[in-house]
């Protein structure tokens, strides 16, 4: 018996070790269901995530990137998430202008006690990515001018 395997988006998650990463743990221990499409990377703070990481992830073929940190005002380092917010905002807007679908760059605030929210966010983001389809941005294509 063969099954038609459906395309599944690959999502890279940069999770703050003080909140979202613990939130993801909590989602697991409280047996919340969420899609297994996310690959989590633990970062010391959401502001550790340079725009370069996001673009490099897209270059490597991830279909989307999720940066998740502490709610405004709750940063372990007091102001890290505010700075991350500015950086992610300009990255998202700028890449949208260049022609990257805005759904591919996602950000959320998830605290350590919000296992449920983490599961929700991952479910929503995965749903969004399924709608926009596979990431072909950096695939080798014939250039219009060479034809």
């Amino acid at each position: 018996m063969t099954q038609q395997s459906e395309w599944e988006p690959k999502l890279l998650g940069f999770l703050c070790r003080w909140c979202s990463y613990a939130g993801a743990d909590l989602a697991g221990t409280s047996r919340k269901k969420y899609p297994a499409n996310i690959r989590a990377i633990k970062v010391p703070c959401s502001s550790r995530v340079d725009s370069l990481f996001i673009i490099k992830a897209l270059r490597l073929g991830f279909d989307g990137v999720l940066v998740s940190g502490c709610h405004p005002g709750d940063c372990h380092y007091l102001t890290g998430n505010y700075r991350a917010r500015r950086r992610i905002a300009i990255t998202k807007k700028f890449l949208e202008y260049l022609g990257v679908e805005p759904e591919r760059i996602q950000a959320s605030w998830v605290s350590a006690s919000e296992g449920g929210k983490f599961a929700e966010v991952v479910t929503e983001v995965t749903g969004d990515l399924k709608k926009v389809g596979p990431n072909q941005l950096f695939a080798e294509r014939k250039l219009a001018k060479e034809n």
Binding site: S51, L52, I55, K56, R59, P72, G73, T79, Y82, R83, R85, R86, R87, I88, A89, I90, T91, K92, K93, F94, L95, E96, Y97, L98, G99, V100, E101, Q106, A107, S108, W109, V121, E124, V125, L137, F138, R141, L143, A144, K145
Partner: protein
């Protein structure tokens, strides 16, 4: 204006108020100027001001030790202010010789207008809002905006706000954003897929000479991420994917420092329309955070500052 500049520059060196003077001298080719960096007071006789002083001299500030007198157009002064914000230079170490700028003449545009190479032109003079070109014994007149660089048409600050010595009458800003923003507006009307393809085509020409980065006063990192090898963020081979990543990340890294001075586009040997990137980033920063780079030397740099409530609609 030129005479006053020479006097002031000479006086600054003689009175030992500065160690260096950065300005422009005539270039070796017709209608060009080249940066002059000197400690010799006799060299100040060679200083010039004309519509061809295209370089953004603020780029040299971070590489020079000591006190500097610098000739600055409006755009250069904004780059200097931006460097002061970032603590890259100290305000007391620089003397800004402010040039009220009439706009810089783009030779490529002139060549297209008269359909002649720049070497074949006899003279280019500017009168009020007209440019007169002498070629083959004939005189041709053009409206000033046809001949200026796009970033000069969009200029919001022709006369430096921050200066020590003002060399002429201040000029009010008269940006014509509709004219200079045409390319971006056209791009925005296309679909995301078309836009991506457009940039893909543009960046397939890039030879990664890094002229854009080297001419940029905001790009002052000692080590750029493109030269990192562990991890190797971008491949050294100039393929369009890596070229695009380099330029996009460069633009994001200089957000809030980039004053849209247009140097990157001007120096690009393969004519990639880089100002369509820098201008958009400039507008995004202004729209989201009401921040205009290089306007206020007391302002906190964009990325070290924040408001309690901003850009929340982008977060889940």
């Amino acid at each position: 204006m030129e005479q006053k500049l020479r006097q002031e520059a000479k006086a600054l060196l003689e009175q030992n108020k500065v160690d260096w003077i950065i300005g422009f001298e005539p270039g070796s080719l017709k209608f060009t100027a080249t940066p002059l960096i000197t400690r010799d007071k006799n060299d100040t006789e060679r200083l010039i001001i004309n519509p061809f002083i295209v370089n953004n001299l603020a780029d040299f500030l971070t590489g020079i030790k000591g006190r500097v007198g610098i000739v600055a157009k409006g755009c250069d002064s904004r780059s200097i202010v931006s460097l002061i914000q970032d603590n890259k230079v100290a305000r007391e170490d620089i003397v800004i010789l402010a040039v009220p700028c009439l706009g810089l003449i783009d030779l490529a545009k002139i060549e297209r207008l008269v359909d002649k190479d720049r070497d074949e032109l006899d003279d280019i003079t500017r009168e009020e809002d007209k440019v007169i070109i002498k070629v083959d014994g004939q005189k041709k007149e053009f409206a000033i905006n046809q001949t200026l660089f796009d970033h000069c048409i969009a200029c919001e600050l022709p006369t430096p706000q921050e200066y020590d010595i003002l060399l002429g009458e201040p000029r009010p800003p008269a940006p014509e954003l509709e004219v200079s923003g045409q390319n971006i507006e056209k791009l925005k009307e296309t679909t995301p897929g078309e836009r991506w393809e457009f940039w893909q085509n543009e960046f397939s020409r890039c030879i990664r000479c890094y002229a854009c980065r080297n001419a940029c006063p905001a790009c002052f990192c000692q080590r750029c991420f493109v030269e990192e090898t562990e991890p190797q963020w971008v491949m050294p081979v100039p393929r369009w994917q890596d070229n695009l990543i380099f330029q996009v990340v460069r633009n994001i890294h200089v957000a809030g420092r980039c004053t849209d001075c247009g140097e990157c586009e001007r120096v690009c040997p393969v004519n990639i329309p880089l100002r369509s990137l820098t201008r958009e980033m400039y507008d995004i920063v202004d729209e989201l955070f009401q921040f205009k780079s290089g306007m206020d030397k007391e302002a906190q740099p964009l990325m070290t500052h924040y408001e309690q409530e901003e850009a929340e609609d982008l977060f889940r």
